[in-house]
Symmetry: C2
C-alpha cells in the first residue's frame, strides 16, 4: 500500500466512527474490513471502538453442517425486528480460494432483510493465520456493538477449536443440531458441549428428534458440577416454530449471566484471548524486523534444525530489538 | 510438580528414546503424553525426536461428522498391515470435560488391531489453548515417525481452522465426505477444499453419491491454477470396498509430492507453524515472569482497557526481561 493512501485513511477515522455510530452500512462494511486486516489501522479502530462497546446482547450460533443455522438466524432476526430491536449479523466463513463469497449463496434467503435499516449482515473470513479469524471476529463484534445494535448474532460453520474460540466473543452460545446424525453426534457433542448455553434441536419434525434429545440429556447428565444446565429446545426454523421460545431462553440466560457473575468471567476470558493473539503478532513482527522471519525460517529448514532452535533465535532477535509499538512507531515517523 | 520428580524425568529421556525406537507402546504413550504438556520436558523430547523423524508417510484424514472416518482408518490400517507395513494412528479429539475418553468408544471396533505390535493407536486432546492441539499433534507425529512406523495416520473430527492446522502436520490429506449432506456440503467443501489432496466419498452405496461427486467436480472446476487436481474416490469402508484403490492414490500423490517439490514446500509451512506457536508461548511465559500475566489482565479488565493497551504493557515487560530459554534456565540452575 502506498504511504499516501495509508495516511489518508488514518485521517478518515473520525468520519468512519461517525458513520459507524449512524449504522451506515458503508461505514460498517469498511470498519469490519479493517478488522480483517493486520496493521496499525485496525489497532487504531479497535482502540476507538472498544470503549463504546459493551451494551449489545451477543449471541453465537454454532453446530454441525446441515443443522439449519442460517435459517434459524434468519428467523431470530425477523422476530427481534418485530419487537423493534436492531440486529447485526456476522456470518463466519471458512476461507477457501475456491468458494470466494459463493458459500453465502444461501444468504439470498435473507435478501428481504437487507432492505431493513435495522438489520446489518456481513460475512467474514480470514486466510491462514492461526487464530486470526477468532481475533477478527472479536473486533467486528465490537464494531457492531459500538454501532448500537441491540443484538449481535455470530453464526459459525463447523465444530472445531476455532469455532470454540470464535464463539468466546459472545455471551450466549446456541448449539444447533439436527436429528438423525447417528453415532457421530457423540463427536459433535464432545467438541461443543462445553460451550453450549442453549441446545437447539432444529428440524425437530424429522425422525430421530426424540433420540437426539435423549442423547443430549444423557451427555448433560455426565456434566456434573455445571452451574447451569443448558436447556434443550426444539425448533423447526423453516416453519417458524419454536423461535419465540428460543428468544425467551436467550433472555433468561442473559439474566442468569448478569446475576451469577458469569458475564464478567466470560468477558475476562475474551480479553485474555485477544491479548494473547496481539502478543503473538507483536513478537512475530519484532522478530521479523530484527533478524528477518523468512530468512531465519529458511536457514532453519535448510539446516534441518528443530523448531525450538529456530524459535529461540527469532525470540532472541525480537527481545534484543526492544519495545515496539507499530502505532507509536508510525506516529513518531510522521 | 515437585522439583525432584522433574529431575528424575529428565534423566529418563535416554531410556524413553530407547523405548520409542523399539516402538514400546508404553514408551510411545509416555512420549505422546509429554507432547500434550507444556514445559521444558516436552521441548527436550522434541529436540531429541526431531532429527530422527522424516521417513514415515504421513496421511491426514478429515471431514465432517458422520462420514465414517474411523472405519476408513481402520480399513486402511488393516490393508497396510497385510503388506507387512507398520502403522501409527493418532485420533485427534475435540476436548470436553464431559466426554473424557468416551468419544473414542468407536475405537472398540479397532480392538483386534491393538494386539498387533505393528500397529499403535493413540487419541490426543488438549484443553483450551489456541492452536495447542495443532502443536501437540505436530510433535506426536514426530514421535511416531522417529519410532520407525512406515505410516502415520492422523484422523481429525471437524471442519474448522484447527483441523486445517492439524492436517498441515501431514503430507497427504484425505477429505472424507458422504452422500446426502444437501446444500450444506458447500460449507464443508469451502472450509477444507483447499487442503484436500484426495477426496473420498465414503458410504458411496448410499443415495446421493452421484450428486456428491458432481458437486465436488464442479467446485474443483472453480479451483483454477491448481498444480494437481485432487482425485475423487468412492469407498464403502464398512464393506471394505475401494480401500486398495485409495492406497494406490495415496502412493501416487506421494510420488508427485517428491517430484514436484511440493513435499519440501509443505514441510516449510509445517516448520513455520511450529515456530510461531513456540514464539507465542515464549512471549507469554516471559511476560508472566516479568509482570505477571494474571495480574495485568485483571488490572486491564478492571480499568476497561482495550486489549492493545494490556498487550502493550505485557509485551514491554517480556522484552525488558531479556532472553529466556526455559531449558537453559533450568539447566543453569542445576
Amino acid at each position: 500500500m502506498a504511504r499516501g493512501s495509508r495516511r489518508r485513511r488514518v485521517e478518515d477515522l473520525d468520519a468512519l466512527m461517525e458513520g459507524v455510530r449512524r449504522r451506515s452500512p458503508r461505514a460498517l462494511g469498511r470498519a469490519i474490513s479493517l478488522c480483517e486486516d493486520a496493521g496499525p489501522q485496525r489497532e487504531r479502530l479497535v482502540r476507538r471502538v472498544y470503549p463504546e462497546a459493551g451494551r449489545a446482547r451477543l449471541v453465537g450460533i454454532t453446530g454441525p453442517p446441515g443443522a439449519g443455522k442460517s435459517t434459524l438466524v434468519d428467523r431470530l432476526a425477523r422476530h427481534l425486528r418485530a419487537r423493534d430491536e436492531t440486529v447485526g449479523i456476522l456470518a463466519i466463513d471458512p476461507t477457501s480460494p475456491y468458494s470466494g463469497g459463493a458459500i453465502l449463496g444461501d444468504r439470498v434467503r435473507m435478501q428481504t432483510l437487507y432492505t431493513d435499516p435495522g438489520i446489518y449482515i456481513r460475512s467474514m473470513a480470514t486466510r491462514g493465520e492461526m487464530g486470526g479469524l477468532a481475533r477478527a471476529t472479536h473486533d467486528a463484534v465490537d464494531v457492531l456493538d459500538a454501532a448500537g445494535f441491540d443484538w449481535v448474532l455470530v453464526e459459525t460453520v463447523g465444530v472445531g477449536q476455532d469455532e470454540v474460540d470464535v464463539v468466546r466473543s459472545v455471551d450466549t452460545v446456541l448449539v444447533v443440531t439436527l436429528p438423525g446424525l447417528g453415532d457421530d453426534i457423540q463427536a459433535i457433542k464432545a467438541g461443543i458441549l462445553e460451550i453450549a448455553d442453549v441446545f437447539v434441536i432444529n428440524k425437530a419434525d424429522k425422525p430421530g428428534a426424540e433420540r437426539a434429545a435423549s442423547d443430549l440429556e444423557m451427555m448433560l447428565g455426565l456434566g456434573e458440577g455445571l452451574e447451569r444446565k443448558p436447556p434443550i429446545l426444539r425448533t423447526v426454523a423453516s416453519r417458524d416454530q419454536g423461535v419465540e421460545e428460543l428468544i425467551a431462553e436467550i433472555e433468561s440466560h442473559r439474566e442468569w449471566l448478569v446475576e451469577s457473575g458469569e458475564l464478567e468471567r466470560r468477558r475476562r476470558i475474551n480479553l485474555r484471548l485477544r491479548v494473547e493473539a496481539i502478543l503473538k503478532q507483536r513478537v512475530l513482527e519484532a522478530a521479523d524486523r530484527a533478524v528477518g522471519l523468512e530468512k531465519e525460517l529458511e536457514a532453519g529448514f535448510q539446516e534441518h534444525e528443530d523448531p525450538y532452535q529456530v524459535a529461540e533465535r527469532l525470540y532472541a532477535g525480537a527481545v534484543g530489538l526492544g519495545h515496539s509499538d507499530p502505532v507509536e512507531k508510525e506516529e513518531a515517523s510522521r
